[in-house]
């Protein structure tokens, strides 16, 4: 409205400046990745002979095909199961209001504050004794458990705001509890379920600590875990490291660009509901 011209200019310059600062690191590793492998390039600058082959080499040495397969497997194993069981639990807590619902909700919400580092040590010994250490299940099973606080909390916020009339009508029609869930409420919960699914997929892809501690073989890890191992091997070969990092970033960035609105909305709603 009544915003002065000079203020308009200052404000916009500030914003553009911040955007440049945010992008610059990405540009820097991109140009660095094009320098000859094994050399020490400078921060940013176009190399005389861009080595596009670095990406191919990084793809090979990082064993990218196996990594993509492994991460995809982990995401596919974690996300649907988490979605189903958390939605069912949230339905029981938020809509059926089972006896003890408050206590149960409190128990889950408590988990929201838990740093993964707090339980990683016993988890390691627990998984050794269960015989799943160093398999993909070592990441999959605890991740499902660790997502429960957020996922249940998130879905409960949806169910608790559902008008009672809907359930009432179904009950009077003689719907079973399962029918009420499956036929009536599951279709209505499609929107919060899909944002939760996207969120958990990104978190799983990016999960590092569990992969680092619970799986020794990088080709059985998540993308982020594999990147950690890749860095360990190629820390001194900066161009190759940058090329590998970019390759690992691409899937996440593509997903972000495609689902931008849902991801941002989901992250924010999740935070606000918390």
């Amino acid at each position: 409205m009544k915003v002065g011209r000079s203020e308009l200019v200052t404000g916009r310059v500030l914003l553009v400046g911040l955007m440049v600062l945010t992008i610059l690191p990405f540009l820097s590793i991109f140009t660095t990745a094009l320098y000859p492998s094994g050399t020490v390039p400078s921060g940013i600058g176009w190399p005389a002979h861009p080595q596009w082959g670095n990406f191919v080499q990084a793809f090979k040495v990082a064993n990218m095909t196996a990594l993509l397969a492994s991460s995809t497997f982990i995401v596919i194993a974690v996300v649907p199961v988490s979605l189903v069981i958390s939605t069912m639990a949230a339905f029981a807590i938020g809509l059926l209001r089972i006896s003890g619902a408050r206590l149960l909700l409190f128990l889950f919400v408590f988990g929201l504050t838990l740093p993964f580092g707090g339980i990683i040590v016993p988890l390691y010994y627990l998984e050794r004794s269960m015989g799943i250490y160093n398999t993909r299940l070592a990441i999959v099973l605890p991740l499902i458990g660790l997502y429960m606080p957020f996922a249940v909390f998130w879905m409960r916020a949806h169910f608790v705001n559902m008008p009672v009339d809907i359930s009432e009508a179904a009950r009077l029609d003689g719907a079973s509890t399962w029918g009420l869930f499956r036929r009536i409420h599951l279709p209505l919960a499609r929107a919060p379920i899909s944002s939760l699914g996207i969120l958990m997929a990104v978190w799983t892809w990016n999960q590092f600590l569990l992969a680092l501690v619970l799986v020794e073989d990088p080709s059985q890890r998540t993308m982020a875990g594999a990147l950690g191992a890749f860095q360990g091997h190629y820390a001194t070969d900066v161009p190759l490291l940058c090329a590998g990092t970019i390759l690992i970033l691409v899937p996440t960035l593509v997903i972000f660009v495609l689902f931008q609105r849902q991801i941002i909305a989901a992250l924010l709603q999740g935070a606000v509901k918390g």
């Binding site: 914003l15 600062l21 690191p25 040590v121 458990g145 990016n206 875990g225």
Partner: protein, 311 residues
């Protein structure tokens, strides 16, 4: 949230004996079957390890041999060994970078976007600032590890503006390593805070801003009088989420400095990892883990309370 806590009261009498009533009663029991799978996974892979952490913390154990009961000795050790206590101090320093600065800066940026860039520029800013939030923290660490290295971009810029004398390997410097790691946190978290606070601003009654502007209020007055007080809840949420992330920090520190140089950037997450998996001191690692979990709760509860209070 709890608008539907009770069923509509009107036809209550007939319901007392009706099948409807019985259905509801049966649901309250059968419903537990729905909650059980989630509860089992949560209990097995989160609550059980949590209890085990507490149990281990009272023992001396190398992970293989017998466990020896030592009572509270591990906790006492944390307070006596400077490195361990120092990791908690470092965690609080990181809170400044991972939480306070991004929240403050995010408030400013959000209010600027709201005031001068409601259109395309604002939308672009939102997307771009959010980018670092979606990439793995490990990748953020690797990117910045390179930027802050001796031949990296930061030193290149410094040399370019004639400050060649201050260039250094930032993450290898005892004094600068922790702020260096902190800067990475700002880069990652700023977009999240900005976008979250921006959604808060759009919920504020636009009339408030309009009348302030008609009265000729400048950006600063508007910021202090309207934006900050009315975003109390969003600020609280932002602080809660980022403080938890700061205290639990691991990924960025692990890939950039692994706690070094010396213990300059060692945070509890790193120390737990080192104690447990390289030094095989499971009891001590667990005691630190328990302290970390308590610490998060102690810090979060007052923030939660403050932001919920209605002024």
């Amino acid at each position: 949230m709890t608008t539907h806590d009770t069923l509509p009261a009107a036809p209550a009498l007939s319901r007392r004996t009706s099948p409807y009533r019985m259905v509801r009663r049966r649901e309250k029991t059968i419903g537990w079957l729905f909650a059980t799978p989630a509860l089992v996974m949560y209990a097995t892979f989160v609550l059980l390890p949590l209890l085990l952490s507490i149990q281990y913390s009272f023992f001396r154990w190398n992970g293989i041999g017998p466990m020896t009961w030592v009572g509270l000795k591990n906790y006492a050790t944390i307070f006596q060994v400077p490195n361990l206590l120092g990791s908690i101090v470092n965690a609080f320093e990181l809170v400044v970078f991972f939480s306070f600065i991004p929240v403050a800066l995010g408030l400013v940026v959000a209010s600027v976007v709201h005031r001068v860039a409601p259109g395309r520029l604002g939308a672009a800013a939102r997307t771009i600032l959010f980018l670092p939030q979606v990439i793995p923290l490990v990748a953020a660490g690797i990117i910045w590890g390179w930027l802050l290295a001796l031949p990296g971009l930061i030193n290149q810029i410094l040399r370019g503006i004639g400050l060649g004398a201050v260039t250094r390997a930032w993450l290898g410097d005892f004094g600068w390593a922790l702020p260096g790691v902190g800067v990475i946190g700002i880069w990652v978290v700023l977009g999240f805070c900005t976008v979250l606070l921006l959604t808060g601003i759009t919920k504020v009654d636009p009339g408030l801003y309009e009348s302030a502007r008609i009265d000729g209020a400048g950006w600063f007055t508007e910021f202090v009088r309207i934006t900050v007080p009315l975003l109390r809840q969003e600020i609280g949420v932002c602080l809660t989420v980022t403080v938890i992330a700061a205290l639990a920090a691991f990924d960025i520190v692990y890939v950039t400095t692994a706690g070094g140089p010396g213990n300059a950037t060692a945070v509890p997450g790193i120390q737990i990892y080192i104690l447990a998996f390289t030094e095989q001191r499971i009891g001590l690692a667990s005691a630190l883990a328990v302290m970390l979990m308590v610490l998060v709760l102690v810090v979060i509860l007052p923030i939660q309370r403050l932001s919920r209070e209605i002024p």
